[in-house]
Each structure stands twice: as C-alpha cells, then as structure tokens.
C-alpha cells in the first residue's frame, strides 16, 4: 500500500511537532525516517497510525484521503505501528495477546490463530511459543510478537518506531531479515531511527525530519553520504565529532566499594560483585535494557539491599542501611523519570529547596526562595521560584533536579540523565555534571545511547545478562568494540583479562 501525507500539522501547545509535512511512501519498500531527538518522527508515525489526530492537513492511503479516528481505523485500513515499547498486555500469553480485540473475522478459532501465528513465525524466522506469557519474554521477542500480530491482523504498512533500542544484536539481525521479507511480499515498511548505519543497511529511501519539517522537502533515495545526512539531521554543528579529553589521575579514596555483593531482581542474578568506584570520575554503564545496570544503580543508591556481601560508601559500611542513610552519606540518585520519581510536580523549586532544609521546626521560606533564585540564575532554568515543577519543560526539570543536588554530594547516580532532552539541553546538563566531577564527585550514569556513553565517560562498565564487567578506560575503547561487548561478543575474555 502506498501512503502519503499532505500539509500535515500537529501542535502540542506551543510546540509545532509536525509543521505542514508533505511526503509519500511507496509500497514494497523500506523507508527510513531519520531525525534528532524531538524532530517529530514519532508524532508523524502516530498520526499515520491513528493514535493521534492532525490539526491540519490530510493522510492519503492509496490515493484516497482517510480520516483516522483511532488506531482501530488505521489497522482496518491496513496500517499498523510497533511502538518503542510494544503496546501489548504483559499478563497475557502470546496467543491471548494475538486474539485480544482482533478485527472481526480474522481468526476463526484459537487453533486457527495458533496455526497462522506459527506459520508466519516460520516464514519470518522468529522463534515463538504461543503459550508463553509476554512478561517472561525480552523486549525483542515482544516486538516480534507485536509485528506478527499486526501482520496477521492485516497490516499492509508496518511502522516501527526506534525498534533497535533495547534488543540484542542477534535480534536486530533477525528483525532486519524479517523486514526485508515483509517488504519483498509487497508491504510498506517505515523504519524510524536516529542510527545512520541501520538506515544505510536496511532502507531503500530516507526521509529526514528536523524541527517538524522534512529537510530537504521530500524523500531521498538511499544510499546517501553519512556526513550529508548528519548535517541534515543536526544542522552544520551537530556533525562535529566529540573530542576526547584525557583526565588527570586523581588519588582519592573510592566513593563506593562493593565487596562480594550478590543481588537478584526478578530473573536476573548479580553474583559476587567486587568493585571500587573512584572519586573524580564519570563512569558510564553500557548494556542492553535489563542487563543489570538498574540493579547496580539501586544497590549503589541503597534502594536495594544485597542478598550477601557489603556496600561501603566513603569507607563506611552501609549495607542494608536504606536509601536515606546513603543520601546522608552523600549519595544522590537522579531517576530517569523525573516527574514520576524525581521531583514533586505540584511543588515549586522553592518548596523543593525548603524540603532540603534539615534544621528547624519551621520552614525558612525566605532562604528557600533565595536558593531557588540562585539556582535559576546559575543553571539557567526558565522558571520562577514559585512555578510548579510540573509546568517546566523536560530540560528545565532536569536542570532543576541537578540544581537540587547538595554541594556535599560525593557520588551521583544518574539514570539516563539526558533522556528526552534536545542536544543543547543535553550539552548543558553534561557540562554541569562534568563540573561536579571536577569538584571530586564520582558520577555513574546509565544510558541506552552508546554515543553519549562514548562521549562523556571516563570509564565504561559493560553489563551483559546480569554480569557486570570491569571499568574500561574510555581511551581503550572504540564505538564498534563497545557495541560488540554489549552484545556479549568478547565479554568473557574481557572479564577474564581483568581477573
């Protein structure tokens, strides 16, 4: 099926996520959609698949304009979208998930559905157990299930939004093979990514979005020179490669020390961890989603007590003391979901500073507002001291969260510190974190973005299937080597070498 959009516009309040887009995608091909964070890729895909409705413009399927009132309409018209995190029902089995609210007449019986599923899985090369519960599967497997569900429900156009974040290299290869097969059968595939290599490997055409516009107007045939695409995505400055700056060695005692720590979380076992995390370093945790980074961060933040072993902070044994004790010892934890876990949306920045006051019966409101004003100036937060945090933009929320870190902090644990931020905000955040590092903090962060890890880490720790690798100095690592390690290639050797 051939799909196109004309003058499509979608605004979110002041943000114009898609600004009079006009572009079309031909059948039987794989179309890449590129763009930096916030360029409007996901918005366009959601419009195409009926999740949201455009403010202006129209969507055309096979030359007929369509009004999509919901994802059901889109699927009925033959368009299905695989979300970044598959929108399935974790408590269901694969088969139940397939049957749930399937369009009428698609599956005549459970048995028919199972047969069709197994047949398709065989054709696409996806291994699948129809009776397995989805919450027991990896993200990659769930994505495969979701693709098959959409195809079986009659999708002629398959949209995938950043499908390769969070799946293994092997799964990515299987996915690409399947997508080629799907396109070869005459269907249309829209492949959203900001990874140039993947687009180059897979796609027949590419569409680059920037600030809600298609640049240059219309599709480009692949291949295209990489530098050209980068300049389209980021403008001229964005393509500049990061400069690696060697660090002076600091002889400070470790902020954290793990001794023979064993911990578990769900199916994941972390066994016999022995690590020292030195002050004055930025340590990046690399690994696929669910490889153990989060457990490690929770252990270091005191949110989870180890089953065995000891956790020391600044030389003091704080095993099982709870996150408040860790915090008092100078450990600061910055969660990825800022509004959900990080700050209190209904309270203002001044209220947050008041919360940090530790002495006195009464709130010293004047002092809190003073501190808030200082933070606003210093961190360039676009807000007043009394604006509720919830009404700040994501980047400003992140800056506010950083501003709230007391100067006494010795260790900062940051989960995806630039999640959802644009490049400029991300740079600003990182310069702050680097300043903290230079003051002698140890900063440990996790990120799904390998570029970010390569760019900002002094040392990198690779997590693979619950195993935590040794810290590798950034200088010894190349991007391709890191990618291999994350996928498990050479991981054993790495661990053994260090032992």
């Amino acid at each position: 099926m051939h799909i196109a959009v004309e003058n499509l516009t979608k605004r979110f309040g002041p943000v114009c996520a898609n600004d009079r887009l006009t572009v079309s995608f031909a059948a039987g091909q794989i179309h890449g959609v590129l763009g930096e964070n916030g360029a409007g890729k996901s918005t366009l895909m959601k419009l195409l698949s009926g999740y949201i409705q455009p403010d202006e413009g129209r969507i055309v399927f096979n030359d007929a304009p369509r009004r999509l009132r919901g994802p059901g309409d889109a699927l009925a018209a033959g368009v299905g979208m695989v979300q970044q995190e598959p929108l399935d029902i974790p408590a269901f089995t694969v088969l139940e998930n397939l049957l749930c609210a399937a369009p009428p007449g698609v599956f005549r019986s459970r048995r028919a559905a199972q047969t069709a599923l197994l047949e398709l899985a065989g054709r696409l090369g996806f291994p699948v157990d129809p009776a397995a519960r989805l919450d027991q599967l990896t993200i990659g497997q769930r994505q495969q299930v979701e693709i098959m569900r959409l195809l079986l429900c009659g999708a002629q156009v398959l949209i995938l939004d950043e499908p390769t974040t969070g799946i293994t290299a092997a799964q990515a290869r299987a996915l690409f093979a399947a997508l080629r097969q799907i396109a070869a059968e005459g269907r249309t595939v829209l492949f959203v990514s900001h990874k140039l290599e993947e687009v180059a490997e897979l796609c027949h055409t590419v569409t680059v979005l920037r600030n809600g516009h298609v640049v240059p107007p219309g599709q480009l045939p692949m291949p295209q020179p990489q530098e050209y695409l980068l300049s389209l995505m980021f403008g001229e400055s964005g393509a500049a490669p990061p400069i690696y700056r060697p660090l002076p060695a600091i002889d400070a005692p470790p902020v954290w020390e793990l001794r023979h720590v064993t911990a578990r979380s769900g199916a994941l076992h972390l066994v016999d961890l022995n690590h020292r995390f030195a002050a004055g370093r930025i340590i990046g945790l690399a690994g696929l989603d669910g490889s153990g980074q989060q457990v490690l961060l929770r252990l270091l933040a005191g949110q989870q007590a180890p089953d065995h072993g000891q956790v020391l902070v600044n030389g003091r044994d704080l095993t099982g003391a709870g996150s408040i004790a860790f915090r008092q010892a100078g450990v600061e934890y910055l969660p990825a979901d800022r509004l959900h876990d990080g700050m209190i949306g209904a309270l203002s920045l001044a209220d947050h500073f008041a919360l940090l006051q530790r002495n006195g019966l009464l709130v010293d409101r004047r002092r809190a507002e003073e501190l808030a004003r200082q933070a606003i100036a210093e961190y360039q937060i676009k807000a007043t001291p009394v604006t509720p945090i919830a009404s700040l933009s994501g980047g400003n929320q992140q800056r506010a969260m950083l501003a709230l870190i007391p100067s006494t902090a010795r260790g900062i644990l940051a989960e995806q510190p630039t999640r959802g931020l644009d490049v400029a905000s991300a740079r600003a955040i990182w310069s702050r974190l680097q300043a903290r590092r230079d003051d002698g903090c140890c900063i440990i962060f996790s990120s799904p973005d390998l570029d970010e890890i390569m760019e900002y880490s002094d040392e990198v720790i690779v997590c693979f299937a619950g195993r935590i690798g040794p810290p590798i100095p950034r200088a010894l690592l190349s991007a391709s080597r890191l990618a291999e390690l994350i996928g498990g290639v050479g991981f054993d050797a790495l661990v053994d070498v260090v032992r």
Binding site: K46, Y51, I52, G70, P71, G72, D73, L75, A76, Q83, L87, D88, I89, P90, A91, F92, E96, L99, C100, A101, A102, P103, R264, D307
Partner: protein, 328 residues
C-alpha cells in the same frame, strides 16, 4: 453427617447475594474500575427492589428495578470518574454513604412491612438425590442463579474473546486502545453490568435471604464483598470460595453461643471480616520479596512446594486497577 450437608447447603444459600455481588465487582475491577460504592448500592437496590415488588406484586419487576438502581449508581460513578476524571476512590466512597442514607430515607415507609418473597423451588427428581440434592437442588431461583453465575463469569473472563478485552482493560488499557477499542465506553459497559449484578444482589437480600426491608438491611455486605474480591485475587472461582468461607464463618459465629457460654458472641460476628483482612495480609506477607528471598535460601525440596503454594495464593491486582485512562 446429614447435619453437615444441611449446614453446607445453608452456607451455599447464605452466600448467594455475596456471590452475585462479588461477580459483579470482579467484572468491573477486571476492567480496571473499582466500584467502592458497593455497600450503598446494595442497600439502595435492596430497598428499591423490595418496594417495587411490594407495590406491584411482581418479583421480577423488583429484581429489574434493583438491577436498574445498581446500574444507575455505577453509571454515576463512571460519569464522575471515567469521564470527569475524579478519583474512583473518592467518588465511590461518597456514593456509598449517599446511597446508604438515600435508602434509609426513601425506604422508611417500607421498614418491616411484610412483603413478597422468592418462592422455594426444588428441582424435581434432582432434589431427591442424596447429598447432591440437598446441597444444590433444594433452593430457590436466586440461589440457583448464584451457582450459575460463577462458571458464567469464569467462562466470560477466560473462555471468550470478550473476556480477553475485559482483562486487557484492567491490565493495559493503552494496548486495548491501540487495538481500536474505545476504552472508556467499554469500561462504562462493564462497570454498569457489574453494578446491575450488585443491584440484583441487593434484591436477593430483601426479596429472598433476609426478606423485607429495614434500616441498613444488608449491614456491611458491600464492604465485605470488596474485601472478598481482593482476597479471591480477582479470579471468579476463588472469589466465590471466599464468599462461601465468609458465610460459613458467620454460621460458626451464630452457633458459638452455646459452645462458648462465657463469651458475648455478638463480637464473633465481626470476626469474618477481620479474618479476611488478616488472611489477605498473611498471603501478601508470604509473597513479599523479603519472604521470597527467605524461601530462596531453603533447601531445594522445600522451595518448590512452598513457591508453588505462595504463587497459588498470591493475588495480583489488575495492573491498571483504579488508574484513569487518557487517550493520547
């Protein structure tokens, strides 16, 4: 031995309104909506059902009116929480109190007035089968209905495509929306259907089990049903088992007066509810991560049966229970 069967049959009968209401609540909670107004709804429906049956002389009309009342209260809850986005807990609680007082006020003329009752209807032939006949076939239609509604609910939830949608609504409404289903409309439908069952359960009190109407006639039954649904882990058969356990405990409480001559047995009647909460707490404690970690340190031969038992007992709430759904 005969006494045992008679007592068991009495338990099955006594639990019938609880079972009907609990299945209704299970349906709406499975779809992600807590109907906390249950206690008030049951009272208002019991009163209305009785009043209508009395004035029209028609039992069926009484039950229909009660179902209508239950559905209407559920619809109000839906309007305020699903459409207007208020907390289900707050609205449900206020409705519970409001309906209770409404039932007292409007029901005043009907207090302790003799009225119609569901007739005893043993099932020919089957009623005379020993034991089974006593247990299952010597009752009235309301009680038969309570027997049938359990497998019906279980089948609906686990055996039909509709059931897949219902369960998905409570687990992940966004996924249901992604499949082209109108989440809010379906939640309304299940909430209202569940409310109608709750209404019928109210009438089962006033027209059958505790004939007539009096102030706070169904004392606390609604709150008990809410607790039983949690206790039953939102699974129809287990929920029903909870209802029967509760009814059995109540009979024990009544009987205990002769057995415990020195204890004021009025206090025993609060026991079933307290026991329910207590057992729920124990089950939750047993399946807590700390307890699981403790279990993991035991020898293998112990681990397996223990984990099996805990998993069977564990009651996992629908993931999206009580949470509002907003279209993207």
């Amino acid at each position: 031995m005969d006494q045992l069967w008679i007592d068991l049959a009495a338990v099955l009968a006594a639990a019938s309104p609880l079972v009907i209401a609990a299945m209704g609540e299970t349906l709406s909670e499975r779809a992600g909506v807590i109907n906390l107004s249950l206690d008030g709804t049951m009272l208002l429906a019991a009163m209305t059902g009785f009043a209508v049956a009395l004035t029209t002389g028609n039992l069926l009309l009484g039950f229909a009116a009660a179902a209508l009342v239950g559905a209407a209260v559920a619809a109000v809850l839906g309007l305020f929480s699903l459409t207007l986005g208020q907390s289900q807990t707050a609205v449900g609680f206020v409705l519970a109190l409001l309906c209770t007082d409404l039932s007292s006020f409007l029901g005043a003329p009907f207090v302790r007035v003799p009225g119609p009752a569901v007739p005893f209807t043993p099932i020919p032939v089957l009623a005379d089968v020993p034991v089974v006949g006593t247990l299952f076939f010597r009752h009235d239609p309301v009680i038969y209905a309570s027997f049938l509604i359990i497998p019906a609910t279980a089948y609906l939830l686990y055996g039909t495509r509709l059931g897949l949608i219902v369960r998905a609504l409570g687990e992940r409404p966004a996924a249901v929306y992604a499949r082209g289903v109108d989440v809010t409309r379906w939640r309304y439908a299940l909430l209202i259907a569940g409310g109608a069952l709750v209404g019928i359960a109210g009438a089962a009190f006033s027209l059958d089990l505790k004939q007539g109407w009096s102030y706070r006639h169904t004392f606390g039954a609604g709150w008990i049903v809410l607790a039983i649904v949690i206790f039953g882990g939102w699974r129809p058969w287990r929920v029903a088992l909870g209802c029967y356990l509760f009814a059995a405990l109540e009979i024990v409480a009544t009987r205990s007066q002769s057995a415990l001559p020195n204890i004021p047995t009025q206090i025993v009647q609060v026991a079933p509810f307290v026991l329910m909460i207590f057992v729920l707490a124990l089950v939750n404690l047993a399946s807590s991560p700390a307890a699981m970690r403790r279990v993991a340190t035991l020898p293998q031969i112990w681990q397996r049966p223990l984990l099996g038992a805990i998993n069977r007992l564990r009651a996992t709430a629908p993931a999206a229970l009580g949470q509002p759904f907003e279209r993207p």
